[in-house]
Every structure is written in structure tokens, then in C-alpha cells.
């Protein structure tokens, strides 16, 4: 078990086995808002109801509405943990009410989760995300 310091952007519950996409993604163009899937390099990864870990965001400012659409279509990730935030991601998560956190040591965090599916949980009281073995 290990704890990583986080900054809370949008409060809420965040726990489960995460989907880690160690890339900067453009929600517009790289996420299908009806399927709830990230589509990059010909692969489709479902993010529905799971904690989504990303390095950050890139691309179009329409991304905020795609995040909102994910929620409206009932296929949003349960929460998002990111290495850094842009207004596009923040505003999308605020209007969609998706918990959003910035993890301070993103590299270490992703490295520790590794390839195995570890369970994670955000503790709002301590402002940390806990990774369980």
C-alpha cells in the first residue's frame, strides 16, 4: 500500500481498479461519448464507471462538452486522476460533476500502479490517493 498526495479539483468518491492511459488525450476526437471509450492507436478502452488515470489533456476546447456528454449518456468514468489540469478538463468535470484530482507525483503514481490491476481509493480527508497491493 502506498499513498500519493493529491489536489482536489472536484470533490467526490473515487475508488476501484483504474484504467491507466499514460498519455495526454483529446476528449474531442479520442473519446467516444456514446460508448464511453478512449479510442487511440486503433484500440478501444472502456472507461465507463471506472477511475480514469491520464497524464493530461490536449487538443480541442470542445473536450469539455464531450466530458459532459459522457455523463449524460451514462458512460462517464467514475472519477479522473490526472498529472496536470487545463481549463478544458476542469470545466468539463465541474459541469458533469465528475470527481477530479491532480496527483502530485504523477510518474511515481503510475509507475507504482504498474501493469497489474491494483485497487485505488481517494481519501478526501487526507488529500491522498491510496494504492492497495
Amino acid at each position: 500500500m502506498k499513498e500519493f498526495k493529491i489536489k482536489v479539483i472536484v470533490e467526490g468518491t473515487c475508488k476501484g481498479k483504474p484504467v491507466v492511459i499514460d498519455k495526454r488525450i483529446s476528449f474531442f476526437g479520442e473519446v467516444d461519448p456514446r460508448k464511453g471509450a478512449v479510442c487511440i492507436e486503433g484500440k478501444e478502452v472502456s472507461i465507463k464507471d471506472k477511475p480514469l488515470v491520464i497524464r493530461g489533456t490536449r487538443g480541442s476546447t470542445v473536450g469539455s462538452y464531450i466530458i459532459y456528454s459522457l455523463k449524460e449518456y451514462g458512460v462517464a468514468p467514475s472519477c479522473i486522476i490526472t498529472g496536470y489540469v487545463e481549463p478544458i478538463l476542469i470545466i468539463g468535470c465541474i459541469i458533469a460533476n465528475i470527481p477530479l484530482f491532480v496527483v502530485e507525483k504523477y510518474r511515481d503514481f503510475v509507475h507504482y500502479i504498474g501493469r497489474q490491476e491494483k485497487f485505488i481509493e481517494v481519501r478526501l480527508d487526507k488529500e491522498v490517493v491510496v494504492v492497495y497491493e
Partner: protein, 395 residues
């Protein structure tokens, strides 16, 4: 966070429920980004207005604003939508019309200028040091990098809130101390930097560099090339500011170089090979030019270029997109282009809309179009300079 008396009033609901909600969200975003105050903006550019992109969830979000009967409190323009309001092209999907008109109705009721374009910087030139709240990634990077104005890549809904309040948070690229280039990119490509190489270099830098770059070797005075270059950096990357040696106004940025990247022609060739499709004349082809929208100068140039030819070759369609705001200004150019078989569409583009028929191959001079048409619409896209496109597709 420090708020002025006026901003306090907005927040407490003295200007109505919608302004209070907008203010609440702007403050929240500001707090997340560590802003100590808000800043007044002179021009808001709203993005995320295409029904094709934002769908019914986005439409219902925007229509909620109509109920409050709110108006934009500053000069506000809008991005392209998914329909051509002039009705002059038939290439786009018709099923999107009614949904889009509902969005337009809200925007126009809010007093948003119906320019419907992604090049707001050519309709109202941003001032040096002026604070803006712009959505539309190409517009943001051009405002910061060419005009020395200050805006973040504001998310679509945030631009609507900025229009209502005339404010955004004093964070990110609004703050001089954050406008610091950290990676030196030296472009050492052989040959003339045109729209083709500019697009490629932009996509490459967007993909490879995360920090604010200081780019040397892109000191062209051709605005069209800069436009394609910068638009591409903001598509494949998250750049809001790309400092261009000899172009970006002094005193609008600082440098603290920690890293260096040299880019040669061979790097770009390799990148192109991984990114784009080959040109093949035997397939059904759609040529697309006008991403970002063509300026008046570009339109004039293209019309002169095309007037030397008789017609488009078989199996080739040619689409250009321009601001809806130009619809009364460009009849002569449009006539010449149409007489040669070119489709002229106003206030829209294939990225924010849907094509009725999928071509086997899209040929474009835009790195940004390449990025999104491939990713979003799953099309095969080939990159070529405008001069070469015209030579190849007309007889």
C-alpha cells in the same frame, strides 16, 4: 480569491441566477488553477457550438441559458457550426440542421456575433497584452503567439460563462510569469517553409513538446504558413503559446530554456509516414482547404490560382470553408471557384460537421484537419501544399 465589489455582486445573484452560476464556476476554475483574482476580458470567443460535436447533451446544456434570458456582457463571437447557413454546399449531413438552429438561436439571443468562424483574430484583431477568453485552440495559440494577447485554452462551456460575466480567472497564460518558453526548438528543414512543412512541423512539435517552446527557424512573414503551423501545434498538442523567434512580440513572454530539440526534414518525413496516407489519384478524393477558415487574402489568392484552370478532374470534389461573416463580401471569388467545380461553404467545416458521403481519401494542406479528420471521422488523409493540390486536381 480576491473579488471586486462588482464581482461579488455577480456571485451573490444581483445580476440574476445565470450570472451567479457562471461566476461560481469561473471562481471554481480559478481556484483550481491557483488564481488570486479574476480578470476582465475584452473579447470572448465561444467554442463548442457545433451540434454535430456536442450532441443533445450539449444542446440541452446551452438551451438552459435561454431560459434565463441572459446577454453577453462583452464583445462575443462564435466558432463555426455544423451547417452552412447560406445553403450553398450540399456536402454536409442535413439531419443536423434543426438541432444546430436551436443552438444558434440561443447564441444570437445572447447577442453573440453570428460570424461562425474559427479565425476571430482576423475579424477583430487582438491587442497586445489584451485579456481574452477564447475557446478554439487555433485561435488561442495565434492570439498569444502572434498578437501577444493573453488567453488560456478556455473550455467550451467556460467561454459561455465568460461571455455572461466578462471575466475569466487570472491564471495560466493570462499571467506574464507563466508565459515562459522552456524548450528551444530549432527547425533546420531544407527548402522553403510552406503550408505543407508548416503543418507537419506544427503536428510534430505539438506531439513531442509539452512545455512552451521557443521556435527558431519559422521566421516567415507568410501569415497562412504561420496559421497552419500554429493550428497544428494546438491540435496534436495542448499549446496555448508557441514563442516564435522574431515574430512573437517582445515583452509578451520570457525564456528559461532547459531543453533543446533540433528538427530536420528527415524527422518530419518519418513523422508524416506514420501519420498520413499516400496520395492516390484513382480513389474518390475530397480536397479540403480552409482549416482554419480561409482569410480574404487566401481566398483571393486561391481564386486567382484556380481561375487558370478549366475544371476539376473526375472523381474529385473540392471543398473550401470560410467565415459566415464573409458571405456578402466574397461573391466574385466564390463565383470563380464554383465555376471550376469548387464547393464554397460558409460558417462550417468538415471537422465540426459530418460529410454526407465518406471519400476514400481526403487531401488537405492543413495539419489540424489531418489530425481531426483522421481521429474523429476515421478518414484517410493525405497532406499536400495548396499549390501542389491545385496543380494535381484541376485540368
Amino acid at each position: 480569491m480576491f473579488l471586486t465589489k462588482e464581482e461579488e455582486k455577480m456571485l451573490s445573484g444581483e445580476y440574476g441566477e445565470a450570472v451567479a452560476l457562471a461566476m461560481k464556476v469561473i471562481v471554481k476554475v480559478g481556484e483550481s488553477l491557483g488564481a488570486e483574482k479574476l480578470v476582465k476580458v475584452r473579447h470572448v470567443h465561444v467554442s463548442g457550438v457545433s451540434y454535430s460535436n456536442i450532441g443533445d447533451p450539449g444542446l440541452s446544456f446551452i438551451e438552459k441559458l435561454l431560459r434565463y434570458r441572459v446577454k453577453a456582457s462583452v464583445y462575443t463571437t462564435s466558432n463555426p457550426t455544423c451547417i452552412d447557413l447560406s445553403g450553398s454546399t450540399r456536402l454536409f449531413n442535413k439531419t443536423l440542421v434543426s438541432g444546430q438552429l436551436r443552438i444558434n438561436r440561443v447564441l444570437e439571443a445572447m447577442n453573440v456575433k453570428p460570424f461562425y468562424t474559427c479565425i476571430p483574430y482576423l475579424l477583430r484583431k487582438p491587442g497586445f497584452g489584451e485579456h481574452l477568453a477564447w475557446g478554439e485552440s487555433n485561435a488561442v495559440v495565434i492570439a498569444n503567439s502572434i498578437y501577444g494577447a493573453r488567453t488560456n485554452r478556455e473550455g467550451g462551456p467556460l467561454t459561455l460563462f465568460a461571455a455572461l460575466t466578462g471575466r475569466t480567472s487570472y491564471s495560466g497564460l493570462h499571467v506574464y510569469e507563466n508565459r515562459v518558453a522552456q524548450v528551444l526548438v530549432e527547425y533546420k528543414g531544407s527548402g522553403k517553409l510552406d503550408d505543407y512543412w508548416g503543418s507537419l512541423l506544427g503536428l510534430f512539435i505539438g506531439d513531442m513538446v509539452e512545455e512552451i517552446p521557443l521556435v527558431k527557424g519559422v521566421d516567415t512573414s507568410d501569415f497562412s504558413v504561420l496559421k497552419e503551423f500554429l493550428a497544428a501545434t494546438a491540435a496534436s498538442g495542448s499549446h496555448g503559446l508557441v514563442v516564435l523567434d522574431k515574430i512573437t512580440p517582445p515583452k509578451s513572454y520570457d525564456t528559461d530554456i532547459e531543453d533543446k530539440l533540433v528538427v530536420n526534414t528527415s524527422d518530419l518525413r518519418k513523422y508524416l509516414y506514420e501519420t498520413a496516407s499516400d496520395f492516390d489519384e484513382n480513389r474518390s478524393i475530397l480536397v479540403y482547404v480552409g482549416c482554419p477558415h480561409l482569410s480574404l487574402t487566401e481566398l483571393a489568392k486561391l481564386s486567382t490560382l484556380v481561375s487558370r484552370y478549366r475544371r476539376l478532374k473526375k472523381n474529385i470534389r473540392f471543398l473550401i470553408t470560410i467565415p459566415y461573416a464573409y458571405r456578402k463580401l466574397v461573391d466574385e471569388y466564390a463565383l470563380v471557384l464554383r465555376s471550376r467545380g469548387v464547393d464554397v461553404a460558409y460558417g462550417t467545416c468538415p471537422i465540426v460537421s459530418k460529410l454526407d458521403e465518406k471519400p476514400d481519401l481526403v487531401v488537405t494542406n492543413s495539419g489540424k484537419a489531418l489530425f481531426y479528420l483522421k481521429k474523429l471521422h476515421r478518414l484517410n488523409v493525405s497532406l499536400m501544399s495548396l499549390d501542389n493540390i491545385v496543380k494535381k486536381v484541376f485540368t
